[in-house]
Amino acid sequence: MNKYVAIAFAGLMASAVQAEETVVWWDFLGGGDGVRMKQLISDFNEANAGEVKIDATTLEWGVPFYTKVQTSVAVGEAPDVMTYHASRIPLALEQGVLDEITPEDWAAMGFGQDDFAAQIWDGVTGPDGKIYGVPLDTHPIVLYYNKDILGAAGQLNADGTPVGMGSREEFTAMLQAIADSGKVKFPLGSVTADGNFMFRTIYSLVGQQDGELLTDGDFLVGDNAAKLENALAVLQEWTTAGLQSTYTDYPATVALFTSGEAAMMINGVWEVPTMTDLHAQGKLFEWGAVELPVIFDHPATYSDSHVFAIPAGSAEDPAKRAAVLKVISGILKESLFWATAGHIPAYKAVTDSAEYKAMEPNATYSSLTANMIYDPKTPLAGVAGPIFDVMSTYFVPALNGELDPAEAVASITEDLNDM
């Protein structure tokens, strides 16, 4: 009798040791990139069946996601791992929702600082010098263009890239030439109805003049205000000259471009899968994507990173922690597939590979990683953060020619400084 009990007990013990570790995962990837992430997750689950299983949930992007994370950490119901924006890390630290990724964790994953570009690594570094996230990618904005229309208007180089990318005059002349060809409603489709989105374009243009938003805790100090004004002025000039779509919201901008009514579009790399998929179905013209034009002094493009973060207090059990780290490193190593979602993988081994270098349009625009600028490091910045609402309120009228850029900048400075 005792023998049977012992056998049963041993059996129980064995199954407890072998028990699959479930990693609860939250992300906010609802678009074309979300489909690719689900593929990566199911591949991971298949490869690690019996050991680690990812239980993934996709939540609403932006404030809803970050509010849920904050409340869930407070009541101890947070996931084991989640996606986060590098730009939101300063606010997250103030809220105390993130766990440090310790040197031991990095060793366990087999990655280190040298595996990531300097700006990307800086994006996950807290003010205390500790690291709070594992960068998955960097997702800048790029210029999408319609090769058929640009070609017909004589605006393509021999290698199929647009001609007027070197200066403000060149780019405006190219827009004008496309307008004169009479083929499109707008040479450039911009998300002019959504100031939140346009922050990315405008901040890039400010960066092209070496301007900064925040200097030692004060907003738009010195000639930085003038630089923001320059950025708004050039965009307003395109609007008033009829070269850019007016009061266009995000979905309408994508629709203008994909329907051929706008010849070019400035948008995030995350729209690459939309174009690839439409083109594969034979519903899209020949298209390409390149780094933003140099309108001012030198190239600069706004970017942000998706990172993996561990919510405070959720993966403290060593077995759980090991499983979480295995998930993160597993996905990072497979991030070549993530690049088909348009994003530029953060893990250098992937971007250095021959397969990645042969991937289009990623290879054409990945040169911009050298010119990336990130959000200022303050709890007020970051996607869907308080700065966004202030900027948006004045960007929309300024971009559409309702408000003088100088007045917009004066109001923005005043509003930012009394937050």
Binding site: A193, D249, Y250, L256, S392, T393
Partner: protein, 293 residues
């Protein structure tokens, strides 16, 4: 029979205890807690330092609070009174119809009310979107310049108020219809024997007898519209949020975007007090009007 008052009181207390405890737990306690929170600099979650009245004293100089306050007042003005009168007019029209036709027309007017706010937003965005909206194509046909309705401050509040009236008048129509049906037909018959014209019928009979319902609709609308948030939020996301702020939107911004729980609580308390004052005032005015008629 001799009644044991003490025992009765005890039984009564035991009977209302479940309600009392739940009410205290999910209403009284959070309200008191929020009141205390408004005197601290707490973030959205967690404790903060006691800062006294600072969260309140900074409100008069807070430009966003100013915008939110006046926008809310403007919205109430644009939605409550027009909404009530539109509903009354529709109810008067429907009450003249008969049988199945009446049911169908009533259903048509009531339909928007059952839609969730996100669907209402989608419908009107499809209609009024600047690039692809159906209404814009009509504008083009008629040779009128397109208007980016939800992106221009001057148009925003009137447009959202119009959408709100369209969306919520169904319920007010039902209340008015019930009110109209409760007016005895004999009164109208007696009046028609005296050759009373239709306007006098309305002014002397329908309006005064319907007044309690009108007062009810006005009060419900007033309290509801002071707490406006959903439509304003949905229509201004990405647009010009800080120009379109209303009170609840500002509370949301402070609490969930800026992580200032204490300051958000202070604004919520101010709104709470405004709602109380306005509803008491409204109620007194209604009573006064009733007595006079």
């Amino acid at each position: 029979m001799i009644r044991d008052r003490k025992k009765e009181a005890l039984v009564a207390f035991i009977l209302i205890l479940p309600f009392l405890s739940i009410y205290s737990l999910i209403f009284v306690y959070p309200t008191i807690d929020m009141f205390l929170l408004s005197f601290t600099d707490a973030p959205l979650i967690g404790k903060g330092e006691w800062v006294g009245l600072e969260n309140y004293t900074r409100l008069p100089n807070d430009r966003r609070f100013d915008t939110a306050f006046w926008n809310t007042a403007y919205f109430v003005l644009l939605s409550v009174i027009p909404g009530t009168f539109v509903a009354l007019a529709i109810a008067l029209g429907i009450s003249r119809l008969q049988g199945r036709l009446q049911a169908i027309v009533l259903a048509l007017f009531f339909l928007p009310y059952i839609l969730p706010v996100s669907v209402v937003y989608r419908l009107w965005d499809w209609t009024l979107n600047f690039q692809f909206g159906i209404a814009m194509h009509l504008f083009d046909l008629m040779g009128i310049d397109r208007v980016p309705i939800f992106k221009v401050t001057g148009w925003f509040m009137p447009a959202v108020a119009m959408v709100t009236v369209w969306w919520t008048s169904g319920f007010s129509i039902l209340l008015f219809l019930a009110g109209l049906r409760s007016i005895p037909n004999e009164i109208y018959e007696a009046a028609s024997l005296d050759n009373t014209n239709r306007w006098t019928l309305f002014r002397r009979i329908t309006w005064p007898l319907l007044w309690p319902v009108t007062a009810l609709v006005l009060t419900i609308q007033l309290i509801l519209q002071l707490k406006i948030f959903d439509q304003v939020y949905l229509f201004s996301v990405g647009g010009r949020p800080n120009d379109n702020l209303v009170m609840v939107y500002y509370i949301y911004q402070r609490a969930f975007v800026s992580n200032d729980g204490g300051r958000a609580a202070a604004i919520a308390i101010v709104l709470f007090i405004i709602v109380i004052i306005v509803s008491v005032l409204n109620f007194q005015l209604m009573r006064f009007a009733e007595k006079r008629s």
